[in-house]
């Protein structure tokens, strides 16, 4: 079967800029005074990651902070660009990374639904068709004509999830989105996820909540320092993660890994 998401030997390098020369002025001053010069350090956020997600499969992505989970999701969503290797996604992607960031605060909920729809590649007519279901799911009927700046953070998240969840995507990318809203809404989101799985959507799901991961995923991938540490059945990978965490925390009391993994230390 052709995978829905195909990640091949993917490497992503970030450039850390100390004393970042963000302006022409500092760039020019750097020529005269080496103390003002920008120092660049690179680190590899992802190293040689290869994985496939089959159509209809739900893959969980776990790992300590800074292990490259969100970076991988952004590369699949195509907002980041690979340094080496390739990412292929077949079908329409609905990203749920950092829900609600795409909202315009001055616009009403209704206007934001249309704006968000067009951002995700929908025509106005397609959004019009989905509009009633989005509003109903979000339970924001009474506030839909109010500017989003007056929404609570929970209302923000509900609207964001509802839009992303109704786009009829083929591939769904979720970054900790289910930890939003009150308990009732969280349950609703999980139900919706189960519906998506039943309908055969391909889902990639980042979470620190191992119980949710175990409940929702077919397979799990464990990332550590930007490398695939384990990839396979839920139980095996989750217990491997727990082992790792236990070793690291009992060792010297530090959490697993530094915030920025695998600094290569090379200077550009």
């Amino acid at each position: 079967m052709t995978p829905a998401i195909e990640v091949r030997n993917l490497w992503k390098r970030f450039v850390l800029r100390h004393n970042r020369a963000e302006t022409l002025k500092s760039r020019i001053m750097g020529v005269f005074d080496s103390r003002l010069r920008e120092r660049r350090e690179t680190f590899w956020a992802l190293q040689d990651v290869t994985l496939n997600v089959q159509p209809g499969e739900t893959l969980g992505l776990i790992g300590p902070n800074g292990s490259g989970k969100s970076t991988l999701l952004r590369l699949i969503a195509r907002t980041y660009y690979p340094t080496r290797g390739s990412v292929t996604v077949r079908g329409r992607v609905s990203p749920m990374l950092e829900i609600g960031v795409g909202f315009h605060q001055e616009l009403t909920g209704q206007e934001n639904i249309y704006l968000n729809g067009s951002l995700l590649g929908l025509s106005r007519r397609e959004t019009e068709r989905l509009y009633p279901a989005i509003v109903e799911f979000s339970e924001l009927e009474d506030f839909i004509d109010v500017p989003v700046k007056n929404y609570s953070s929970g209302m923000h998240a509900r609207l964001g999830f509802s839009i992303a969840a109704h786009l009829d995507p083929d591939v769904l990318l979720i970054d900790e989105a289910l930890s939003v809203g009150d308990e009732g809404f969280q349950r609703k989101c999980q139900e919706r996820m189960q519906q998506f799985r039943a309908r055969g959507l391909t889902i990639m799901f980042v979470s620190h909540n191992l119980r949710t991961v175990a409940a929702l995923c077919d397979r799990v991938c464990l990332l550590v320092h930007g490398k695939v540490e384990a990839l396979g059945p839920v139980d095996a990978v989750v217990s491997r993660y727990q082992e790792l965490t236990a070793v690291m925390t009992s060792g010297d009391g530090r959490m697993l890994g530094p915030e920025l993994p695998s600094r290569s230390g090379e200077t550009l």
Partner: protein, 259 residues
Amino acid sequence: MTAADVVAHLRYRDLLFSLVLTELKVKYRGSTLGFLWSLLNPLALILIYSVAFRYIIRIQIERFTVFLIAGLLPWGFFASSATASTISLMVNAGLLKKVHFPREILPAATVLFNLIQTLLALAVFLPSLFVLRGSVPWTLVFYPVVLAIQAVFVLGVALGLSALTVSFRDLRHLTEVGLTMLFWLTPIVYRISMVPAGMQAAFRLNPMTSFVSVYQDIAYWGRPPSAGDFLVLAGWAVGALLVGWAIFRRRAPYLAEDL
């Protein structure tokens, strides 16, 4: 760019219109005078320059206000687009990080928004121009063509400036200073023939000089532009678009991480 890319871009034309509509809504919401506010700025400039140049400096240009309007409105389109384009990517950092879409749409929306503002201003000031002038020159039929060519030129400038400002944040302030200087180096409140002969060649290196001169021809002098005029304008437009887009394409893949 492949054919598939073009098709993908066409799918996003609703996004372009949504973004422009958003800017218009946000700008005019909650003000009863609505778009009249955006006429205030050109109106104030026209009044103050008319007073200064007609009555104080006593410039030797007949019907100075007509002459001024002919050059000032197209300049406003260029200047306000350039200023707004410098921040068009930075204010949308959230969108760029969250969703994949053709990045060109953001500066393009800025230019389209300013074009609409310019059209609104033209709808009001062009008729008043003919009250002042006494007659309607037939050469005005060239106006939409010249404006379309200018829009391409402005788009090129906006693409380049928006991408460069992400790397060099102070470009925003440099642009403002640069535009103020360029305004006085463009024959808007004086005629190019008033510039000392030795400096005229240098003045003609300024693309806005070419555009403004053609606008004055068709709206003030009633002279049809020559084929050569159109070639020069088209050359500036295509050149700006190619350079601006090349700069933009080079930075586009890394915008989400640089912002």
